[in-house]
Protein backbone atom coordinates (compact mmCIF):
# COMPACT_ATOMS: atom_id res chain seq x y z
CA UNK A 1 0.00 0.00 0.00
CA UNK A 2 1.39 3.39 -1.05
CA UNK A 3 0.93 6.52 1.08
CA UNK A 4 0.21 8.42 -2.14
CA UNK A 5 -0.29 7.60 -5.80
CA UNK A 6 -0.09 10.55 -8.19
CA UNK A 7 -1.78 10.05 -11.56
CA UNK A 8 0.05 11.92 -14.33
CA UNK A 9 3.68 13.07 -14.37
CA UNK A 10 3.25 16.57 -15.80
CA UNK A 11 4.13 19.71 -13.83
CA UNK A 12 1.12 19.15 -11.56
CA UNK A 13 2.07 15.57 -10.70
CA UNK A 14 5.75 16.40 -10.20
CA UNK A 15 5.00 19.30 -7.83
CA UNK A 16 2.36 17.35 -5.87
CA UNK A 17 4.67 14.37 -5.32
CA UNK A 18 7.59 16.57 -4.35
CA UNK A 19 5.59 18.55 -1.83
CA UNK A 20 4.04 15.41 -0.27
CA UNK A 21 7.59 14.10 0.19
CA UNK A 22 8.69 17.36 1.82
CA UNK A 23 5.71 17.06 4.19
CA UNK A 24 6.82 13.64 5.34
CA UNK A 25 5.21 10.95 3.15
CA UNK A 26 7.75 8.27 2.26
CA UNK A 27 6.04 5.86 -0.13
CA UNK A 28 4.95 7.87 -3.15
CA UNK A 29 4.37 6.65 -6.70
CA UNK A 30 3.80 8.71 -9.87
CA UNK A 31 2.14 6.84 -12.74
CA UNK A 32 2.71 8.39 -16.21
CA UNK A 33 1.53 6.96 -19.54
CA UNK A 34 4.21 8.71 -21.64
CA UNK A 35 7.84 7.59 -21.93
CA UNK A 36 9.06 10.57 -19.90
CA UNK A 37 7.80 12.91 -17.17
CA UNK A 38 7.05 16.58 -17.86
CA UNK A 39 3.63 16.38 -19.53
CA UNK A 40 2.73 19.01 -22.08
CA UNK A 41 5.88 20.98 -21.19
CA UNK A 42 7.98 18.62 -23.32
CA UNK A 43 6.43 19.96 -26.51
CA UNK A 44 6.28 23.60 -25.32
CA UNK A 45 9.80 24.46 -26.43
CA UNK A 46 9.08 28.23 -26.30
CA UNK A 47 10.11 30.34 -23.34
CA UNK A 48 7.81 31.99 -20.83
CA UNK A 49 7.74 29.46 -18.02
CA UNK A 50 8.80 30.06 -14.44
CA UNK A 51 9.17 33.82 -14.17
CA UNK A 52 7.08 33.84 -10.99
CA UNK A 53 8.57 30.66 -9.65
CA UNK A 54 12.26 30.90 -10.50
CA UNK A 55 12.52 34.60 -11.41
CA UNK A 56 13.86 33.62 -14.81
CA UNK A 57 12.29 32.81 -18.11
CA UNK A 58 12.63 29.13 -18.92
CA UNK A 59 11.44 27.00 -21.81
CA UNK A 60 8.93 24.20 -21.10
CA UNK A 61 11.53 21.40 -21.08
CA UNK A 62 13.83 23.44 -18.79
CA UNK A 63 10.98 24.11 -16.35
CA UNK A 64 10.12 20.40 -16.30
CA UNK A 65 13.79 19.50 -15.76
CA UNK A 66 13.94 21.66 -12.63
CA UNK A 67 11.14 19.62 -11.06
CA UNK A 68 12.42 16.28 -12.33
CA UNK A 69 15.83 17.08 -10.80
CA UNK A 70 14.19 18.01 -7.47
CA UNK A 71 12.39 14.68 -7.49
CA UNK A 72 15.66 12.81 -7.98
CA UNK A 73 16.70 14.03 -4.52
CA UNK A 74 13.67 12.24 -3.03
CA UNK A 75 12.59 8.61 -2.90
CA UNK A 76 9.51 9.20 -5.08
CA UNK A 77 9.01 6.33 -7.56
CA UNK A 78 8.22 7.19 -11.17
CA UNK A 79 6.43 4.49 -13.22
CA UNK A 80 6.62 5.43 -16.93
CA UNK A 81 4.89 3.94 -19.99
CA UNK A 82 2.01 2.99 -17.71
CA UNK A 83 -1.61 3.98 -18.23
CA UNK A 84 -4.08 4.35 -15.39
CA UNK A 85 -7.35 2.70 -16.49
CA UNK A 86 -9.49 3.13 -13.42
CA UNK A 87 -9.49 4.51 -9.92
CA UNK A 88 -12.03 3.67 -7.24
CA UNK A 89 -13.48 5.67 -4.36
CA UNK A 90 -11.77 3.07 -2.14
CA UNK A 91 -8.45 4.40 -3.54
CA UNK A 92 -7.47 1.49 -5.71
CA UNK A 93 -5.61 2.32 -8.89
CA UNK A 94 -5.81 -0.03 -11.90
CA UNK A 95 -2.83 0.34 -14.24
CA UNK A 96 -1.56 -1.36 -17.37
CA UNK A 97 1.83 -1.41 -19.06
CA UNK A 98 3.55 -3.48 -21.73
CA UNK A 99 6.25 -4.41 -19.24
CA UNK A 100 4.26 -5.42 -16.15
CA UNK A 101 0.78 -6.06 -17.56
CA UNK A 102 -2.33 -5.31 -15.51
CA UNK A 103 -1.91 -4.39 -11.85
CA UNK A 104 -4.15 -3.09 -9.08
CA UNK A 105 -2.35 -0.80 -6.63
CA UNK A 106 -3.73 0.60 -3.37
CA UNK A 107 -3.05 3.96 -1.78
CA UNK A 108 -3.94 5.88 1.36
CA UNK A 109 -4.34 8.99 -0.80
CA UNK A 110 -4.49 9.86 -4.51
CA UNK A 111 -3.75 13.08 -6.40
CA UNK A 112 -5.30 13.39 -9.88
CA UNK A 113 -2.98 15.24 -12.31
CA UNK A 114 -4.12 14.06 -15.75
CA UNK A 115 -4.07 17.51 -17.40
CA UNK A 116 -6.19 18.46 -20.43
CA UNK A 117 -6.83 17.42 -23.95
CA UNK A 118 -7.70 19.60 -26.91
CA UNK A 119 -11.16 20.23 -28.31
CA UNK A 120 -11.38 18.74 -31.78
CA UNK A 121 -13.26 19.68 -34.93
CA UNK A 122 -16.07 17.30 -33.94
CA UNK A 123 -16.46 19.08 -30.61
CA UNK A 124 -17.13 22.43 -32.32
CA UNK A 125 -18.87 21.29 -35.50
CA UNK A 126 -17.18 23.15 -38.39
CA UNK A 127 -19.01 22.59 -41.69
CA UNK A 128 -17.36 21.48 -44.92
CA UNK A 129 -15.33 18.56 -46.23
CA UNK A 130 -13.39 16.22 -43.94
CA UNK A 131 -10.03 16.24 -45.76
CA UNK A 132 -6.48 15.74 -44.54
CA UNK A 133 -4.75 18.88 -43.27
CA UNK A 134 -6.95 19.71 -40.28
CA UNK A 135 -5.05 19.33 -37.01
CA UNK A 136 -5.45 20.47 -33.45
CA UNK A 137 -2.69 22.99 -32.72
CA UNK A 138 -1.28 20.81 -29.96
CA UNK A 139 -0.88 17.76 -32.17
CA UNK A 140 0.81 19.91 -34.82
CA UNK A 141 3.10 21.18 -32.04
CA UNK A 142 3.97 17.64 -31.03
CA UNK A 143 4.67 16.58 -34.64
CA UNK A 144 6.90 19.59 -35.24
CA UNK A 145 8.76 19.96 -31.96
CA UNK A 146 9.24 16.34 -30.95
CA UNK A 147 9.06 14.36 -34.19
CA UNK A 148 10.33 17.00 -36.61
CA UNK A 149 7.43 16.93 -39.12
CA UNK A 150 6.02 20.10 -40.70
CA UNK A 151 2.27 19.65 -41.05
CA UNK A 152 1.74 22.23 -43.82
CA UNK A 153 2.91 25.28 -45.77
CA UNK A 154 -0.05 27.67 -45.93
CA UNK A 155 -1.93 27.78 -42.68
CA UNK A 156 -5.16 29.24 -41.28
CA UNK A 157 -5.59 29.04 -37.52
CA UNK A 158 -9.05 28.82 -35.98
CA UNK A 159 -9.18 30.08 -32.42
CA UNK A 160 -6.76 32.41 -30.68
CA UNK A 161 -5.91 30.22 -27.71
CA UNK A 162 -2.28 30.19 -26.62
CA UNK A 163 -1.38 26.96 -28.39
CA UNK A 164 -2.63 28.35 -31.71
CA UNK A 165 -0.73 31.60 -31.23
CA UNK A 166 2.49 29.80 -30.29
CA UNK A 167 2.09 27.59 -33.36
CA UNK A 168 1.51 30.60 -35.63
CA UNK A 169 5.00 31.83 -34.78
CA UNK A 170 6.57 28.39 -34.77
CA UNK A 171 5.23 27.50 -38.24
CA UNK A 172 6.32 30.92 -39.55
CA UNK A 173 9.86 30.44 -38.23
CA UNK A 174 9.98 27.05 -39.95
CA UNK A 175 9.07 28.62 -43.27
CA UNK A 176 5.28 28.25 -43.46
CA UNK A 177 2.99 31.15 -44.35
CA UNK A 178 0.37 31.72 -41.68
CA UNK A 179 -2.42 33.58 -43.46
CA UNK A 180 -4.76 34.38 -40.61
CA UNK A 181 -5.82 33.67 -37.07
CA UNK A 182 -9.61 33.62 -36.83
CA UNK A 183 -11.41 34.10 -33.49
CA UNK A 184 -15.13 33.68 -32.84
CA UNK A 185 -15.20 35.99 -29.83
CA UNK A 186 -14.65 39.76 -29.89
CA UNK A 187 -11.46 39.23 -27.81
CA UNK A 188 -8.57 36.79 -27.94
CA UNK A 189 -8.54 33.69 -25.77
CA UNK A 190 -4.75 33.80 -25.44
CA UNK A 191 -2.30 35.79 -23.36
CA UNK A 192 -1.60 39.33 -24.55
CA UNK A 193 2.13 38.60 -24.75
CA UNK A 194 1.43 35.82 -27.23
CA UNK A 195 -0.66 38.12 -29.44
CA UNK A 196 2.26 40.56 -29.51
CA UNK A 197 5.15 38.20 -30.13
CA UNK A 198 3.42 35.46 -32.11
CA UNK A 199 1.06 37.44 -34.38
CA UNK A 200 2.04 41.13 -34.42
CA UNK A 201 5.78 40.39 -34.74
CA UNK A 202 5.10 38.43 -37.93
CA UNK A 203 2.28 40.58 -39.35
CA UNK A 204 -0.24 37.77 -39.04
CA UNK A 205 -3.74 39.26 -39.04
CA UNK A 206 -6.10 38.43 -36.17
CA UNK A 207 -9.76 38.45 -37.21
CA UNK A 208 -11.90 38.87 -34.08
CA UNK A 209 -15.66 38.05 -34.26
CA UNK A 210 -14.99 35.86 -37.32
CA UNK A 211 -15.23 32.15 -37.95
CA UNK A 212 -14.54 29.49 -40.58
CA UNK A 213 -17.78 28.77 -42.44
CA UNK A 214 -16.46 26.32 -45.03
CA UNK A 215 -13.45 24.06 -45.59
CA UNK A 216 -12.96 22.72 -49.13
CA UNK A 217 -10.57 20.11 -50.45
CA UNK A 218 -8.71 19.07 -53.57
CA UNK A 219 -7.39 15.50 -53.84
CA UNK A 220 -8.31 14.80 -50.23
CA UNK A 221 -6.28 17.69 -48.77
CA UNK A 222 -7.49 21.10 -47.54
CA UNK A 223 -7.35 23.62 -50.41
CA UNK A 224 -9.59 26.56 -49.44
CA UNK A 225 -11.16 28.03 -46.36
CA UNK A 226 -13.98 30.56 -46.19
CA UNK A 227 -14.18 32.93 -43.22
CA UNK A 228 -17.13 35.16 -42.31
CA UNK A 229 -17.57 38.05 -39.93
CA UNK A 230 -20.19 37.38 -37.25
CA UNK A 231 -23.01 39.57 -35.98
CA UNK A 232 -23.74 40.04 -32.28
CA UNK A 233 -25.70 36.75 -32.25
CA UNK A 234 -22.66 35.00 -33.69
CA UNK A 235 -24.38 34.50 -37.06
CA UNK A 236 -22.28 34.90 -40.25
CA UNK A 237 -22.94 38.25 -41.96
CA UNK A 238 -23.61 37.66 -45.70
CA UNK A 239 -21.11 39.33 -48.02
CA UNK A 240 -18.31 39.55 -45.44
CA UNK A 241 -16.61 36.39 -46.67
CA UNK A 242 -12.82 36.16 -46.96
CA UNK A 243 -11.33 33.31 -49.03
CA UNK A 244 -8.00 31.72 -48.13
CA UNK A 245 -6.02 29.42 -50.33
CA UNK A 246 -4.34 27.10 -47.79
CA UNK A 247 -3.34 23.49 -47.20
CA UNK A 248 -3.68 23.38 -43.43
CA UNK A 249 -6.14 24.40 -40.72
CA UNK A 250 -5.00 24.38 -37.11
CA UNK A 251 -7.65 24.31 -34.39
CA UNK A 252 -6.93 26.12 -31.15
CA UNK A 253 -10.42 26.13 -29.76
CA UNK A 254 -9.86 25.28 -26.16
CA UNK A 255 -8.87 22.53 -23.81
CA UNK A 256 -11.04 20.10 -21.87
CA UNK A 257 -9.85 18.65 -18.57
CA UNK A 258 -9.25 14.92 -18.97
CA UNK A 259 -11.68 13.53 -16.39
CA UNK A 260 -12.90 10.11 -17.51
CA UNK A 261 -11.18 8.52 -14.50
CA UNK A 262 -12.63 11.13 -12.15
CA UNK A 263 -16.20 10.65 -13.37
CA UNK A 264 -15.97 6.87 -13.29
CA UNK A 265 -14.87 7.06 -9.64
CA UNK A 266 -18.11 8.90 -8.82
CA UNK A 267 -16.33 12.15 -7.89
CA UNK A 268 -18.57 15.22 -8.05
CA UNK A 269 -17.90 17.35 -11.15
CA UNK A 270 -18.39 21.07 -11.86
CA UNK A 271 -20.00 21.67 -15.27
CA UNK A 272 -18.42 25.16 -15.41
CA UNK A 273 -14.82 23.94 -15.23
CA UNK A 274 -15.33 20.38 -16.54
CA UNK A 275 -13.16 19.43 -13.58
CA UNK A 276 -13.83 18.05 -10.12
CA UNK A 277 -15.44 20.20 -7.44
CA UNK A 278 -12.66 20.86 -4.93
CA UNK A 279 -12.24 22.19 -1.40
CA UNK A 280 -9.69 24.79 -0.26
CA UNK A 281 -6.99 22.08 -0.07
CA UNK A 282 -7.79 20.66 -3.54
CA UNK A 283 -9.62 17.66 -2.05
CA UNK A 284 -12.45 16.30 -4.18
CA UNK A 285 -15.85 15.10 -2.94
CA UNK A 286 -14.23 11.72 -2.17
CA UNK A 287 -12.08 11.95 0.99
CA UNK A 288 -8.39 11.33 0.35
CA UNK A 289 -8.64 11.95 -3.40
CA UNK A 290 -7.22 15.30 -4.46
CA UNK A 291 -6.88 16.97 -7.87
CA UNK A 292 -4.73 19.81 -9.22
CA UNK A 293 -3.42 21.45 -12.38
CA UNK A 294 -5.19 21.42 -15.73
CA UNK A 295 -7.38 18.47 -14.78
CA UNK A 296 -9.23 20.79 -12.37
CA UNK A 297 -9.34 23.96 -14.50
CA UNK A 298 -7.37 25.17 -17.49
CA UNK A 299 -4.34 27.21 -16.40
CA UNK A 300 -2.41 29.62 -18.64
CA UNK A 301 0.64 29.77 -16.39
CA UNK A 302 2.51 26.71 -15.27
CA UNK A 303 3.80 28.62 -12.22
CA UNK A 304 0.25 28.58 -10.83
CA UNK A 305 -0.07 24.88 -11.66
CA UNK A 306 3.02 24.15 -9.57
CA UNK A 307 1.81 26.27 -6.63
CA UNK A 308 -1.66 24.73 -6.66
CA UNK A 309 -0.20 21.23 -6.92
CA UNK A 310 2.13 21.79 -3.99
CA UNK A 311 -0.93 22.63 -1.92
CA UNK A 312 -2.61 19.43 -3.11
CA UNK A 313 0.47 17.32 -2.32
CA UNK A 314 0.77 18.87 1.14
CA UNK A 315 -2.94 18.22 1.73
CA UNK A 316 -2.54 14.56 0.76
CA UNK A 317 0.27 14.29 3.31
CA UNK A 318 -1.92 15.96 5.94
CA UNK A 319 -4.72 13.48 5.14
CA UNK A 320 -2.44 10.47 5.53
CA UNK A 321 -0.59 11.70 8.63
CA UNK A 322 -3.34 13.57 10.51
CA UNK A 323 -6.65 12.46 9.04
CA UNK A 324 -9.58 14.08 7.29
CA UNK A 325 -10.23 17.84 7.58
CA UNK A 326 -13.38 18.72 9.49
CA UNK A 327 -15.82 21.57 9.40
CA UNK A 328 -18.74 23.06 7.54
CA UNK A 329 -17.94 24.24 4.03
CA UNK A 330 -18.78 27.64 2.60
CA UNK A 331 -20.09 27.41 -0.95
CA UNK A 332 -18.35 29.74 -3.46
CA UNK A 333 -20.77 31.18 -6.00
CA UNK A 334 -20.02 33.13 -9.12
CA UNK A 335 -21.70 36.51 -9.29
CA UNK A 336 -21.77 39.00 -12.15
CA UNK A 337 -19.30 38.28 -14.98
CA UNK A 338 -17.43 35.52 -13.15
CA UNK A 339 -17.37 32.21 -15.03
CA UNK A 340 -16.26 29.85 -12.28
CA UNK A 341 -14.20 29.68 -9.11
CA UNK A 342 -11.67 27.13 -7.86
CA UNK A 343 -12.07 26.01 -5.13
CA UNK A 344 -15.84 25.71 -5.14
CA UNK A 345 -15.97 25.01 -1.37
CA UNK A 346 -13.97 26.32 1.58
CA UNK A 347 -13.87 24.82 5.08
CA UNK A 348 -13.07 28.08 6.83
CA UNK A 349 -12.05 26.39 10.09
CA UNK A 350 -9.31 24.50 8.29
CA UNK A 351 -7.83 27.62 6.69
CA UNK A 352 -4.74 28.78 8.53
CA UNK A 353 -4.13 32.29 7.17
CA UNK A 354 -5.89 32.65 3.84
CA UNK A 355 -7.47 30.61 1.07
CA UNK A 356 -6.30 30.87 -2.56
CA UNK A 357 -9.17 31.46 -4.99
CA UNK A 358 -8.78 31.32 -8.77
CA UNK A 359 -11.39 32.37 -11.30
CA UNK A 360 -11.96 33.73 -14.80
CA UNK A 361 -14.05 36.73 -15.78
CA UNK A 362 -16.50 36.52 -18.69
CA UNK A 363 -15.49 39.70 -20.54
CA UNK A 364 -12.68 42.24 -20.78
CA UNK A 365 -12.48 44.79 -17.93
CA UNK A 366 -10.43 47.98 -17.62
CA UNK A 367 -10.38 49.67 -14.19
CA UNK A 368 -12.40 47.24 -12.11
CA UNK A 369 -13.07 45.63 -8.74
CA UNK A 370 -13.52 42.06 -7.65
CA UNK A 371 -16.19 41.98 -4.97
CA UNK A 372 -16.57 39.32 -2.28
CA UNK A 373 -19.94 39.20 -0.55
CA UNK A 374 -22.02 36.77 1.49
CA UNK A 375 -25.14 37.68 -0.47
CA UNK A 376 -26.02 40.57 1.82
CA UNK A 377 -22.85 42.35 2.79
CA UNK A 378 -19.69 43.12 0.80
CA UNK A 379 -16.88 41.51 2.79
CA UNK A 380 -13.89 42.55 0.70
CA UNK A 381 -12.96 44.07 -2.63
CA UNK A 382 -9.83 43.86 -4.76
CA UNK A 383 -8.89 46.40 -7.44
CA UNK A 384 -7.65 45.42 -10.88
CA UNK A 385 -6.40 47.58 -13.73
CA UNK A 386 -7.19 44.97 -16.32
CA UNK A 387 -8.96 41.61 -16.47
CA UNK A 388 -9.70 39.35 -19.44
CA UNK A 389 -11.21 35.89 -19.91
CA UNK A 390 -7.86 34.67 -21.28
CA UNK A 391 -6.08 35.53 -18.03
CA UNK A 392 -6.80 33.62 -14.85
CA UNK A 393 -7.37 35.81 -11.79
CA UNK A 394 -6.14 35.00 -8.31
CA UNK A 395 -7.12 36.41 -4.91
CA UNK A 396 -6.24 35.44 -1.35
CA UNK A 397 -9.23 35.38 1.01
CA UNK A 398 -8.03 35.89 4.59
CA UNK A 399 -9.50 33.66 7.31
CA UNK A 400 -10.91 36.81 9.02
CA UNK A 401 -13.10 37.48 5.99
CA UNK A 402 -14.21 33.87 5.64
CA UNK A 403 -15.32 33.90 9.28
CA UNK A 404 -17.55 36.92 8.63
CA UNK A 405 -19.58 35.19 5.92
CA UNK A 406 -23.15 34.48 6.96
CA UNK A 407 -25.54 32.04 5.30
CA UNK A 408 -22.91 29.49 4.29
CA UNK A 409 -21.87 31.10 1.02
CA UNK A 410 -19.54 33.59 -0.62
CA UNK A 411 -20.15 35.25 -3.98
CA UNK A 412 -17.30 36.46 -6.19
CA UNK A 413 -18.26 39.09 -8.75
CA UNK A 414 -16.51 41.52 -11.08
CA UNK A 415 -17.56 45.05 -12.06
CA UNK A 416 -16.23 48.35 -13.34
CA UNK A 417 -14.73 50.51 -10.58
Amino acid sequence: MYDLIVIGGGPAGLAAANSAWQKGLRSILIVERDKEAGGILNQCIHNGFGLHRFKEELTGPEYAARFIDMLKETGVELMLDTMVLEITAGRQVHVISAKDGYQVLSAKSIVLCMGCRERTRGAIGIPGDRPAGVFTAGSAQRYLNLEGYMVGKRVVILGSGDIGLIMARRMTLEGAKVLACVELMPYSGGLMRNIVQCLNDWDIPLYLSHTITDIRAENGRVSHVTVHKLDENRQPIPGTNLEFDCDTVLLSVGLIPENELTRAAGIQMDPRTNGAVVYENMETSVPGIFACGNVVHVHDLVDYVSAESERAGAAAAEFVLKGQREGEALELKNGADVGYTVPQKIRAQAVEKAADVFFRVRRVFKNSVIEISDGEKVLASFRREHMAPGEMEHILLPRKILDQARGGQITVSAKEA
Binding site: A65, L173, D201, D300
Partner: protein, 114 residues
Protein backbone atom coordinates in the same frame (compact mmCIF):
# COMPACT_ATOMS: atom_id res chain seq x y z
CA UNK B 1 3.62 58.66 -25.18
CA UNK B 2 3.55 55.14 -26.62
CA UNK B 3 1.38 52.34 -25.24
CA UNK B 4 2.56 48.77 -25.36
CA UNK B 5 2.17 45.44 -23.62
CA UNK B 6 5.13 44.08 -21.68
CA UNK B 7 5.88 40.58 -22.93
CA UNK B 8 8.79 39.76 -20.63
CA UNK B 9 6.52 37.52 -18.57
CA UNK B 10 3.00 36.22 -19.15
CA UNK B 11 1.48 38.78 -16.81
CA UNK B 12 1.39 41.21 -19.74
CA UNK B 13 1.47 44.60 -17.95
CA UNK B 14 0.29 47.57 -20.00
CA UNK B 15 3.18 50.03 -20.27
CA UNK B 16 3.33 53.69 -21.17
CA UNK B 17 6.64 54.83 -22.58
CA UNK B 18 7.37 58.56 -22.70
CA UNK B 19 9.71 59.14 -25.67
CA UNK B 20 10.09 62.81 -24.82
CA UNK B 21 11.18 62.05 -21.28
CA UNK B 22 14.16 59.75 -21.69
CA UNK B 23 11.84 56.80 -22.45
CA UNK B 24 10.44 56.82 -18.90
CA UNK B 25 8.20 53.79 -18.35
CA UNK B 26 5.04 53.61 -16.23
CA UNK B 27 2.52 50.78 -15.73
CA UNK B 28 5.16 48.11 -15.12
CA UNK B 29 4.91 45.77 -12.09
CA UNK B 30 8.63 45.03 -11.96
CA UNK B 31 11.96 46.50 -13.18
CA UNK B 32 12.16 44.09 -16.12
CA UNK B 33 9.12 45.84 -17.58
CA UNK B 34 10.82 49.24 -17.48
CA UNK B 35 13.82 47.85 -19.32
CA UNK B 36 11.62 46.12 -21.87
CA UNK B 37 9.62 49.29 -22.55
CA UNK B 38 12.78 51.32 -23.23
CA UNK B 39 14.27 48.69 -25.54
CA UNK B 40 11.08 47.79 -27.38
CA UNK B 41 10.72 51.34 -28.63
CA UNK B 42 14.39 51.73 -29.56
CA UNK B 43 15.64 48.25 -30.53
CA UNK B 44 13.16 45.34 -30.23
CA UNK B 45 14.74 42.00 -29.28
CA UNK B 46 13.41 38.46 -28.73
CA UNK B 47 14.70 35.16 -27.39
CA UNK B 48 14.53 32.61 -30.22
CA UNK B 49 13.46 29.04 -29.45
CA UNK B 50 13.54 26.26 -32.02
CA UNK B 51 14.78 22.70 -32.51
CA UNK B 52 17.78 21.11 -34.22
CA UNK B 53 18.37 17.60 -35.53
CA UNK B 54 19.75 15.03 -33.10
CA UNK B 55 20.80 11.45 -33.71
CA UNK B 56 20.64 8.64 -31.17
CA UNK B 57 18.20 10.44 -28.82
CA UNK B 58 14.70 9.50 -27.63
CA UNK B 59 13.36 11.97 -30.25
CA UNK B 60 14.76 13.12 -33.61
CA UNK B 61 14.66 16.83 -32.60
CA UNK B 62 16.36 18.60 -29.71
CA UNK B 63 14.96 21.91 -28.40
CA UNK B 64 17.32 24.92 -28.25
CA UNK B 65 17.20 28.65 -27.45
CA UNK B 66 19.37 31.71 -27.82
CA UNK B 67 21.14 32.48 -24.54
CA UNK B 68 19.95 36.09 -24.69
CA UNK B 69 17.44 38.23 -26.56
CA UNK B 70 18.57 38.98 -30.13
CA UNK B 71 17.41 41.72 -32.54
CA UNK B 72 14.06 40.78 -34.07
CA UNK B 73 15.42 41.30 -37.57
CA UNK B 74 18.01 38.53 -37.05
CA UNK B 75 15.62 35.71 -36.08
CA UNK B 76 15.27 34.25 -39.57
CA UNK B 77 19.04 34.36 -40.14
CA UNK B 78 19.58 32.33 -36.97
CA UNK B 79 16.91 29.84 -38.10
CA UNK B 80 18.93 29.34 -41.29
CA UNK B 81 22.12 28.64 -39.36
CA UNK B 82 20.29 26.17 -37.10
CA UNK B 83 19.21 24.18 -40.18
CA UNK B 84 22.84 23.19 -40.60
CA UNK B 85 23.25 21.81 -37.06
CA UNK B 86 23.02 18.11 -36.18
CA UNK B 87 23.75 16.98 -32.62
CA UNK B 88 24.41 13.50 -31.38
CA UNK B 89 23.02 12.18 -28.12
CA UNK B 90 23.81 12.59 -25.23
CA UNK B 91 23.45 16.36 -24.82
CA UNK B 92 22.95 18.35 -21.60
CA UNK B 93 20.90 21.47 -20.85
CA UNK B 94 23.02 24.55 -21.52
CA UNK B 95 25.37 22.84 -23.98
CA UNK B 96 26.34 25.32 -26.71
CA UNK B 97 25.32 24.31 -30.26
CA UNK B 98 26.13 27.58 -32.04
CA UNK B 99 28.36 30.51 -31.05
CA UNK B 100 27.80 34.09 -32.21
CA UNK B 101 24.56 33.15 -34.00
CA UNK B 102 24.15 35.23 -37.20
CA UNK B 103 26.70 37.71 -35.89
CA UNK B 104 24.52 38.75 -32.93
CA UNK B 105 27.06 37.68 -30.30
CA UNK B 106 24.43 35.36 -28.80
CA UNK B 107 24.99 31.64 -28.35
CA UNK B 108 22.39 28.96 -28.99
CA UNK B 109 22.08 26.35 -26.21
CA UNK B 110 20.33 23.02 -25.63
CA UNK B 111 17.19 23.18 -23.44
CA UNK B 112 16.63 19.48 -22.84
CA UNK B 113 18.87 16.57 -21.88
CA UNK B 114 18.45 13.96 -24.61
Amino acid sequence: MKELVCIVCPKGCRLHVDEENGFAVTGNSCPRGAEYGKNEIQNPTRVLTSTVRITGGAYPRCPVKTDRAVPKAKLMDIMKELNGVTLSSPVEIGQVVLRDAAGTGAGVVVTKAL
